[in-house]
Amino acid sequence: MIAPRLDVEGLLRGEGLHRVGGGRPPLGRLALTLALGGALYGAVMGAFGLNAEQALDSAIKVPLLVVVASLVCLPNFWVLNLVLGLGPDFAAAWRGLLSAQATLAVALASLAPVTAFAYASTDSYESAKLLNFAVFGVATLAAQRTLARHYRPLLARDRRHAIALLAWPTLYFFVAGQLAYVLRPFIGNPKFPTVFLREHWWGNVYVDLWWAVRGL
Protein backbone atom coordinates (compact mmCIF):
# COMPACT_ATOMS: atom_id res chain seq x y z
CA MET A 1 0.00 0.00 0.00
CA ILE A 2 1.11 3.50 -0.76
CA ALA A 3 -0.33 5.27 2.31
CA PRO A 4 2.38 4.01 4.75
CA ARG A 5 5.13 5.09 2.30
CA LEU A 6 3.70 8.56 2.16
CA ASP A 7 3.33 8.44 5.96
CA VAL A 8 -0.28 9.58 5.87
CA GLU A 9 -0.68 8.53 9.50
CA GLY A 10 2.19 10.83 10.50
CA LEU A 11 0.71 13.66 8.46
CA LEU A 12 -2.65 13.40 10.23
CA ARG A 13 -1.06 13.20 13.66
CA GLY A 14 1.78 15.67 13.09
CA GLU A 15 4.46 13.07 13.86
CA GLY A 16 7.73 11.80 12.35
CA LEU A 17 8.54 13.39 9.00
CA HIS A 18 5.48 15.59 9.33
CA ARG A 19 6.21 16.78 12.85
CA VAL A 20 5.35 20.30 13.88
CA GLY A 21 8.24 22.78 13.66
CA GLY A 22 10.86 24.11 11.26
CA GLY A 23 13.21 22.29 8.93
CA ARG A 24 12.83 21.25 5.33
CA PRO A 25 9.34 19.90 4.64
CA PRO A 26 9.15 16.45 2.95
CA LEU A 27 8.17 18.14 -0.33
CA GLY A 28 8.08 15.06 -2.55
CA ARG A 29 5.87 13.09 -0.18
CA LEU A 30 3.51 15.99 0.40
CA ALA A 31 3.20 16.71 -3.32
CA LEU A 32 2.52 13.06 -4.10
CA THR A 33 -0.06 12.84 -1.29
CA LEU A 34 -1.78 15.93 -2.63
CA ALA A 35 -1.74 14.70 -6.22
CA LEU A 36 -2.98 11.19 -5.42
CA GLY A 37 -5.62 12.23 -2.88
CA GLY A 38 -6.92 15.02 -5.08
CA ALA A 39 -6.97 12.84 -8.19
CA LEU A 40 -8.81 10.05 -6.38
CA TYR A 41 -11.51 12.43 -5.18
CA GLY A 42 -11.67 14.17 -8.55
CA ALA A 43 -12.19 10.86 -10.36
CA VAL A 44 -15.11 10.00 -8.08
CA MET A 45 -16.49 13.54 -8.20
CA GLY A 46 -16.57 13.46 -12.00
CA ALA A 47 -18.22 10.04 -12.10
CA PHE A 48 -21.72 11.42 -11.49
CA GLY A 49 -22.87 10.92 -15.07
CA LEU A 50 -20.86 7.67 -15.35
CA ASN A 51 -18.70 9.38 -17.93
CA ALA A 52 -15.03 8.27 -17.99
CA GLU A 53 -13.88 11.44 -19.74
CA GLN A 54 -15.41 13.70 -17.09
CA ALA A 55 -13.94 11.50 -14.32
CA LEU A 56 -10.48 11.81 -15.88
CA ASP A 57 -10.85 15.57 -16.36
CA SER A 58 -11.87 16.08 -12.74
CA ALA A 59 -9.05 13.79 -11.54
CA ILE A 60 -6.65 16.28 -13.14
CA LYS A 61 -8.54 19.40 -12.14
CA VAL A 62 -8.97 18.84 -8.39
CA PRO A 63 -5.21 18.62 -7.59
CA LEU A 64 -4.66 21.46 -10.06
CA LEU A 65 -7.17 23.61 -8.21
CA VAL A 66 -5.46 23.10 -4.85
CA VAL A 67 -1.93 23.59 -6.18
CA VAL A 68 -2.60 26.65 -8.35
CA ALA A 69 -4.69 28.39 -5.67
CA SER A 70 -1.80 27.86 -3.20
CA LEU A 71 0.82 29.12 -5.65
CA VAL A 72 -1.18 32.24 -6.42
CA CYS A 73 -1.53 33.10 -2.71
CA LEU A 74 1.97 32.13 -1.60
CA PRO A 75 3.86 35.34 -2.52
CA ASN A 76 1.39 37.42 -0.52
CA PHE A 77 1.72 35.08 2.47
CA TRP A 78 5.51 35.31 2.33
CA VAL A 79 5.52 39.11 2.13
CA LEU A 80 2.93 39.39 4.89
CA ASN A 81 5.06 37.22 7.19
CA LEU A 82 8.13 39.34 6.50
CA VAL A 83 6.25 42.62 7.00
CA LEU A 84 4.90 41.38 10.31
CA GLY A 85 8.45 40.54 11.37
CA LEU A 86 7.76 36.80 11.40
CA GLY A 87 10.55 35.93 8.97
CA PRO A 88 12.44 33.61 11.33
CA ASP A 89 9.29 31.48 11.75
CA PHE A 90 8.50 31.29 8.04
CA ALA A 91 9.97 27.80 7.58
CA ALA A 92 7.66 26.41 10.25
CA ALA A 93 4.63 28.27 8.84
CA TRP A 94 5.44 27.02 5.32
CA ARG A 95 5.65 23.49 6.64
CA GLY A 96 2.25 23.88 8.25
CA LEU A 97 0.76 25.31 5.09
CA LEU A 98 2.00 22.43 2.93
CA SER A 99 0.86 19.85 5.47
CA ALA A 100 -2.59 21.46 5.53
CA GLN A 101 -2.89 21.22 1.74
CA ALA A 102 -1.89 17.55 1.84
CA THR A 103 -4.37 16.95 4.68
CA LEU A 104 -7.09 18.50 2.52
CA ALA A 105 -6.32 15.97 -0.21
CA VAL A 106 -6.26 13.05 2.26
CA ALA A 107 -9.58 14.13 3.75
CA LEU A 108 -11.08 14.45 0.27
CA ALA A 109 -9.84 10.97 -0.65
CA SER A 110 -11.29 9.55 2.56
CA LEU A 111 -14.67 11.05 1.65
CA ALA A 112 -14.57 9.66 -1.91
CA PRO A 113 -16.49 6.48 -0.95
CA VAL A 114 -19.19 8.68 0.63
CA THR A 115 -19.57 10.62 -2.62
CA ALA A 116 -19.64 7.43 -4.69
CA PHE A 117 -22.29 6.04 -2.36
CA ALA A 118 -24.38 9.21 -2.58
CA TYR A 119 -24.14 9.17 -6.39
CA ALA A 120 -25.47 5.59 -6.30
CA SER A 121 -28.43 6.81 -4.24
CA THR A 122 -29.62 9.76 -6.31
CA ASP A 123 -29.65 11.02 -9.87
CA SER A 124 -30.32 14.64 -8.90
CA TYR A 125 -27.56 16.92 -10.16
CA GLU A 126 -28.49 19.59 -7.62
CA SER A 127 -28.04 17.11 -4.74
CA ALA A 128 -24.67 16.10 -6.18
CA LYS A 129 -23.59 19.75 -6.21
CA LEU A 130 -24.71 20.31 -2.62
CA LEU A 131 -22.97 17.14 -1.50
CA ASN A 132 -19.69 18.22 -3.07
CA PHE A 133 -19.91 21.62 -1.41
CA ALA A 134 -20.35 19.82 1.90
CA VAL A 135 -17.45 17.42 1.20
CA PHE A 136 -15.08 20.27 0.36
CA GLY A 137 -16.27 22.10 3.48
CA VAL A 138 -15.56 19.11 5.71
CA ALA A 139 -12.16 18.51 4.08
CA THR A 140 -11.29 22.16 4.65
CA LEU A 141 -12.06 21.74 8.35
CA ALA A 142 -9.61 18.82 8.40
CA ALA A 143 -6.95 20.98 6.72
CA GLN A 144 -7.59 23.78 9.22
CA ARG A 145 -6.97 21.32 12.04
CA THR A 146 -3.50 20.49 10.68
CA LEU A 147 -2.74 24.18 10.13
CA ALA A 148 -3.86 24.99 13.69
CA ARG A 149 -1.60 22.26 15.07
CA HIS A 150 1.41 23.73 13.27
CA TYR A 151 0.51 27.25 14.35
CA ARG A 152 0.02 26.49 18.05
CA PRO A 153 3.72 26.87 19.00
CA LEU A 154 4.07 29.84 16.66
CA LEU A 155 1.14 31.65 18.25
CA ALA A 156 2.57 30.96 21.69
CA ARG A 157 5.79 32.65 20.56
CA ASP A 158 4.28 35.66 18.81
CA ARG A 159 0.63 36.74 18.71
CA ARG A 160 1.13 38.42 15.33
CA HIS A 161 0.99 34.97 13.73
CA ALA A 162 -2.77 35.21 14.24
CA ILE A 163 -2.90 37.85 11.48
CA ALA A 164 -1.08 35.58 9.01
CA LEU A 165 -3.23 32.66 10.07
CA LEU A 166 -6.37 34.64 9.29
CA ALA A 167 -5.04 36.22 6.09
CA TRP A 168 -4.09 32.92 4.45
CA PRO A 169 -7.52 31.24 4.36
CA THR A 170 -9.24 34.53 3.49
CA LEU A 171 -7.15 35.06 0.38
CA TYR A 172 -7.01 31.35 -0.41
CA PHE A 173 -10.78 30.92 -0.50
CA PHE A 174 -11.19 34.11 -2.47
CA VAL A 175 -8.81 32.77 -5.12
CA ALA A 176 -9.95 29.13 -4.95
CA GLY A 177 -13.57 30.17 -5.48
CA GLN A 178 -12.70 31.97 -8.69
CA LEU A 179 -10.34 29.21 -9.83
CA ALA A 180 -12.99 26.54 -9.28
CA TYR A 181 -15.32 28.66 -11.43
CA VAL A 182 -12.74 28.92 -14.22
CA LEU A 183 -11.92 25.19 -14.07
CA ARG A 184 -15.56 24.04 -14.05
CA PRO A 185 -17.18 21.56 -14.75
CA PHE A 186 -16.06 19.23 -11.96
CA ILE A 187 -19.18 17.12 -11.52
CA GLY A 188 -20.45 17.44 -15.08
CA ASN A 189 -24.13 18.11 -15.62
CA PRO A 190 -25.30 15.11 -17.67
CA LYS A 191 -27.46 17.49 -19.73
CA PHE A 192 -24.41 19.30 -21.14
CA PRO A 193 -21.69 17.86 -23.40
CA THR A 194 -18.45 16.78 -21.70
CA VAL A 195 -15.73 19.40 -22.03
CA PHE A 196 -12.49 20.06 -20.14
CA LEU A 197 -13.43 23.73 -19.69
CA ARG A 198 -16.77 25.37 -20.43
CA GLU A 199 -17.04 27.49 -23.56
CA HIS A 200 -17.23 30.78 -21.66
CA TRP A 201 -14.78 29.65 -19.01
CA TRP A 202 -12.90 32.90 -18.49
CA GLY A 203 -15.41 34.74 -16.29
CA ASN A 204 -15.55 36.14 -12.79
CA VAL A 205 -17.54 34.24 -10.23
CA TYR A 206 -17.93 37.26 -7.94
CA VAL A 207 -19.29 39.51 -10.68
CA ASP A 208 -21.68 36.75 -11.75
CA LEU A 209 -22.76 36.26 -8.13
CA TRP A 210 -23.33 40.00 -7.81
CA TRP A 211 -25.61 40.00 -10.88
CA ALA A 212 -27.37 36.86 -9.68
CA VAL A 213 -28.13 38.48 -6.32
CA ARG A 214 -29.28 41.72 -8.03
CA GLY A 215 -31.48 39.60 -10.29
CA LEU A 216 -33.39 38.27 -7.25
Binding site: E9, L12, R13, V106, P113, V114, F117, S121, V138
Partner: protein
Protein backbone atom coordinates in the same frame (compact mmCIF):
# COMPACT_ATOMS: atom_id res chain seq x y z
CA UNK B 1 -18.23 -25.41 13.48
CA UNK B 2 -17.41 -25.67 17.19
CA UNK B 3 -14.29 -23.59 16.67
CA UNK B 4 -16.27 -20.79 15.05
CA UNK B 5 -18.88 -20.83 17.80
CA UNK B 6 -16.09 -20.55 20.32
CA UNK B 7 -14.69 -17.58 18.42
CA UNK B 8 -18.09 -15.87 18.47
CA UNK B 9 -18.49 -16.71 22.15
CA UNK B 10 -15.17 -15.05 22.98
CA UNK B 11 -16.04 -11.96 20.96
CA UNK B 12 -19.48 -11.56 22.54
CA UNK B 13 -18.00 -12.00 26.01
CA UNK B 14 -15.63 -9.13 25.23
CA UNK B 15 -12.49 -11.23 25.66
CA UNK B 16 -10.89 -9.55 22.65
CA UNK B 17 -11.72 -6.08 23.92
CA UNK B 18 -10.50 -6.12 27.51
CA UNK B 19 -10.30 -2.92 29.49
CA UNK B 20 -6.50 -2.97 29.94
CA UNK B 21 -5.83 -3.64 26.25
CA UNK B 22 -8.20 -0.96 25.03
CA UNK B 23 -6.84 1.61 27.44
CA UNK B 24 -3.36 0.93 26.09
CA UNK B 25 -4.71 1.45 22.53
CA UNK B 26 -4.43 -2.28 21.71
CA UNK B 27 -7.18 -4.23 19.98
CA UNK B 28 -5.93 -7.80 19.78
CA UNK B 29 -8.43 -9.40 17.48
CA UNK B 30 -7.73 -12.21 15.04
CA UNK B 31 -8.77 -10.04 12.06
CA UNK B 32 -8.92 -12.69 9.33
CA UNK B 33 -10.83 -15.23 11.37
CA UNK B 34 -13.21 -12.49 12.39
CA UNK B 35 -13.85 -11.53 8.76
CA UNK B 36 -14.63 -15.15 7.87
CA UNK B 37 -16.87 -15.45 10.92
CA UNK B 38 -18.73 -12.23 10.00
CA UNK B 39 -19.24 -13.42 6.42
CA UNK B 40 -20.57 -16.77 7.67
CA UNK B 41 -22.99 -15.15 10.11
CA UNK B 42 -24.17 -12.78 7.37
CA UNK B 43 -24.76 -15.70 5.02
CA UNK B 44 -26.90 -17.44 7.62
CA UNK B 45 -29.16 -14.47 8.23
CA UNK B 46 -29.23 -13.43 4.55
CA UNK B 47 -30.37 -16.91 3.59
CA UNK B 48 -33.12 -16.85 6.22
CA UNK B 49 -34.29 -13.50 4.81
CA UNK B 50 -34.34 -14.78 1.23
CA UNK B 51 -36.24 -17.91 2.25
CA UNK B 52 -39.55 -16.01 2.09
CA UNK B 53 -39.32 -15.36 -1.66
CA UNK B 54 -37.64 -18.72 -2.24
CA UNK B 55 -40.63 -20.59 -0.81
CA UNK B 56 -43.10 -18.61 -2.97
CA UNK B 57 -43.29 -21.41 -5.51
CA UNK B 58 -42.00 -19.34 -8.43
CA UNK B 59 -39.53 -20.35 -11.10
CA UNK B 60 -35.89 -20.46 -10.00
CA UNK B 61 -36.99 -19.30 -6.56
CA UNK B 62 -33.70 -20.54 -5.10
CA UNK B 63 -32.00 -17.54 -6.66
CA UNK B 64 -33.63 -15.30 -4.04
CA UNK B 65 -32.00 -17.36 -1.34
CA UNK B 66 -28.57 -17.15 -2.94
CA UNK B 67 -28.91 -13.42 -3.66
CA UNK B 68 -29.95 -12.48 -0.12
CA UNK B 69 -27.31 -14.72 1.45
CA UNK B 70 -24.60 -13.09 -0.68
CA UNK B 71 -25.88 -9.54 -0.29
CA UNK B 72 -26.18 -9.36 3.49
CA UNK B 73 -22.42 -9.69 4.22
CA UNK B 74 -21.84 -7.34 1.27
CA UNK B 75 -24.17 -4.78 2.85
CA UNK B 76 -22.01 -4.56 5.96
CA UNK B 77 -18.72 -4.67 4.05
CA UNK B 78 -19.76 -1.83 1.73
CA UNK B 79 -21.11 0.27 4.59
CA UNK B 80 -17.76 -0.13 6.33
CA UNK B 81 -15.93 0.78 3.12
CA UNK B 82 -17.97 3.97 2.74
CA UNK B 83 -17.68 5.14 6.33
CA UNK B 84 -14.27 3.90 7.51
CA UNK B 85 -11.78 6.09 5.58
CA UNK B 86 -13.26 9.38 6.73
CA UNK B 87 -13.76 8.14 10.29
CA UNK B 88 -10.10 7.17 10.41
CA UNK B 89 -8.86 10.49 9.00
CA UNK B 90 -10.86 12.55 11.46
CA UNK B 91 -10.00 10.32 14.42
CA UNK B 92 -6.29 10.58 13.57
CA UNK B 93 -6.57 14.37 13.25
CA UNK B 94 -8.09 14.35 16.74
CA UNK B 95 -5.06 12.36 17.98
CA UNK B 96 -7.03 9.17 18.57
CA UNK B 97 -4.89 6.60 20.34
CA UNK B 98 -6.00 3.91 17.90
CA UNK B 99 -3.90 3.47 14.77
CA UNK B 100 -5.45 2.57 11.44
CA UNK B 101 -5.32 -1.17 12.01
CA UNK B 102 -6.76 -1.01 15.52
CA UNK B 103 -9.58 1.31 14.43
CA UNK B 104 -10.52 -1.07 11.63
CA UNK B 105 -10.39 -4.09 13.93
CA UNK B 106 -12.62 -2.43 16.47
CA UNK B 107 -15.23 -1.56 13.85
CA UNK B 108 -14.99 -5.04 12.34
CA UNK B 109 -15.62 -6.47 15.82
CA UNK B 110 -18.72 -4.30 16.27
CA UNK B 111 -20.03 -5.40 12.88
CA UNK B 112 -19.41 -9.06 13.74
CA UNK B 113 -21.36 -8.57 16.95
CA UNK B 114 -24.26 -7.12 14.91
CA UNK B 115 -24.12 -10.07 12.51
CA UNK B 116 -23.94 -12.49 15.45
CA UNK B 117 -27.14 -11.05 16.89
CA UNK B 118 -28.80 -11.15 13.46
CA UNK B 119 -27.78 -14.76 12.92
CA UNK B 120 -29.26 -15.63 16.31
CA UNK B 121 -32.59 -14.29 15.00
CA UNK B 122 -32.38 -16.51 11.91
CA UNK B 123 -34.40 -19.41 13.39
CA UNK B 124 -37.16 -16.94 14.33
CA UNK B 125 -37.17 -15.51 10.81
CA UNK B 126 -37.31 -19.00 9.30
CA UNK B 127 -40.13 -19.98 11.64
CA UNK B 128 -42.22 -16.95 10.64
CA UNK B 129 -41.37 -17.38 6.96
CA UNK B 130 -42.84 -20.86 7.05
CA UNK B 131 -45.93 -19.80 8.95
CA UNK B 132 -47.00 -16.57 7.22
CA UNK B 133 -47.52 -15.37 3.67
CA UNK B 134 -47.68 -11.65 4.48
CA UNK B 135 -44.82 -9.86 2.74
CA UNK B 136 -45.37 -6.68 4.76
CA UNK B 137 -45.13 -8.57 8.03
CA UNK B 138 -41.84 -10.17 6.98
CA UNK B 139 -40.47 -6.83 5.91
CA UNK B 140 -41.41 -5.31 9.25
CA UNK B 141 -39.97 -8.24 11.20
CA UNK B 142 -36.65 -8.00 9.37
CA UNK B 143 -36.40 -4.25 9.87
CA UNK B 144 -37.00 -4.74 13.60
CA UNK B 145 -34.36 -7.48 13.83
CA UNK B 146 -31.84 -5.38 11.92
CA UNK B 147 -32.58 -2.41 14.17
CA UNK B 148 -32.09 -4.51 17.32
CA UNK B 149 -28.83 -5.99 16.01
CA UNK B 150 -27.67 -2.50 15.10
CA UNK B 151 -28.35 -1.25 18.62
CA UNK B 152 -26.45 -4.13 20.23
CA UNK B 153 -23.48 -3.64 17.87
CA UNK B 154 -23.40 0.07 18.49
CA UNK B 155 -23.62 -0.52 22.25
CA UNK B 156 -20.56 -2.77 21.98
CA UNK B 157 -18.67 -0.09 20.08
CA UNK B 158 -19.80 2.65 22.43
CA UNK B 159 -18.49 0.77 25.44
CA UNK B 160 -15.16 0.10 23.70
CA UNK B 161 -14.78 3.74 22.64
CA UNK B 162 -15.42 4.91 26.20
CA UNK B 163 -12.68 2.56 27.40
CA UNK B 164 -10.21 3.68 24.75
CA UNK B 165 -10.81 7.34 25.53
CA UNK B 166 -11.43 7.46 29.29
CA UNK B 167 -12.60 10.66 30.93
CA UNK B 168 -9.60 11.25 33.18
CA UNK B 169 -6.59 11.11 30.88
CA UNK B 170 -6.33 13.95 28.35
CA UNK B 171 -9.86 15.26 28.91
CA UNK B 172 -10.00 17.47 25.82
CA UNK B 173 -8.47 14.85 23.52
CA UNK B 174 -10.77 12.12 24.84
CA UNK B 175 -13.86 14.26 24.47
CA UNK B 176 -13.03 15.10 20.87
CA UNK B 177 -12.30 11.51 19.92
CA UNK B 178 -15.49 10.26 21.58
CA UNK B 179 -17.50 12.90 19.72
CA UNK B 180 -16.02 11.75 16.39
CA UNK B 181 -16.95 8.13 17.09
CA UNK B 182 -20.47 9.18 18.11
CA UNK B 183 -20.96 11.06 14.86
CA UNK B 184 -19.61 8.02 13.04
CA UNK B 185 -22.17 5.76 14.75
CA UNK B 186 -24.92 7.99 13.42
CA UNK B 187 -23.42 8.10 9.92
CA UNK B 188 -22.94 4.33 9.95
CA UNK B 189 -26.63 3.86 10.72
CA UNK B 190 -27.78 6.26 8.01
CA UNK B 191 -25.40 4.87 5.38
CA UNK B 192 -26.29 1.29 6.35
CA UNK B 193 -30.01 1.94 5.90
CA UNK B 194 -29.52 3.56 2.50
CA UNK B 195 -27.00 0.87 1.46
CA UNK B 196 -29.69 -1.73 2.20
CA UNK B 197 -31.98 0.29 -0.06
CA UNK B 198 -29.42 0.21 -2.87
CA UNK B 199 -28.87 -3.53 -2.48
CA UNK B 200 -32.56 -4.42 -2.16
CA UNK B 201 -34.46 -6.76 -2.46
CA UNK B 202 -33.56 -8.88 0.56
CA UNK B 203 -36.93 -10.31 1.53
CA UNK B 204 -38.28 -10.14 -2.03
CA UNK B 205 -41.80 -8.95 -2.86
CA UNK B 206 -43.68 -12.00 -4.24
CA UNK B 207 -45.46 -9.69 -6.75
CA UNK B 208 -42.21 -8.69 -8.46
CA UNK B 209 -39.91 -10.83 -10.61
CA UNK B 210 -36.46 -11.84 -9.36
CA UNK B 211 -33.70 -9.22 -9.58
CA UNK B 212 -30.23 -9.13 -8.03
CA UNK B 213 -30.77 -5.42 -7.30
CA UNK B 214 -33.62 -3.07 -8.15
CA UNK B 215 -33.26 0.47 -9.47
CA UNK B 216 -32.38 2.42 -6.33
CA UNK B 217 -31.83 5.93 -7.69
CA UNK B 218 -35.55 6.72 -7.96
CA UNK B 219 -36.17 7.02 -4.22
CA UNK B 220 -34.36 6.42 -0.95
CA UNK B 221 -34.77 4.56 2.31
CA UNK B 222 -35.88 7.58 4.31
CA UNK B 223 -38.50 8.67 1.79
CA UNK B 224 -39.79 5.10 1.77
CA UNK B 225 -40.11 4.98 5.58
CA UNK B 226 -41.87 8.37 5.71
CA UNK B 227 -44.29 7.31 2.96
CA UNK B 228 -45.01 3.99 4.70
CA UNK B 229 -45.72 5.82 7.98
CA UNK B 230 -47.93 8.40 6.23
CA UNK B 231 -49.90 5.65 4.46
CA UNK B 232 -50.55 3.85 7.72
CA UNK B 233 -51.79 6.98 9.44
CA UNK B 234 -54.14 7.99 6.63
Amino acid sequence: MGRWLKELDQLLRGEHTRRDDLQAGRVGLPARRLAVLAAGLGLVYGASMGLFAATGGREQAWRHLVASAAKLPLLFALTLLVTFPSLYVFAALANSRLRVRETLRLLAAAITVMLGVLASFAPVTVFFTLSTDSYRFMLFLNVVFCGLAGLVGLGFLYRAVNLVFPDEAGAEEGRRARRIFRVWLLIFGVVGAQMAWILKPFVGNPQLPFAWVRDSRVSNFFEFVLRALADNWR
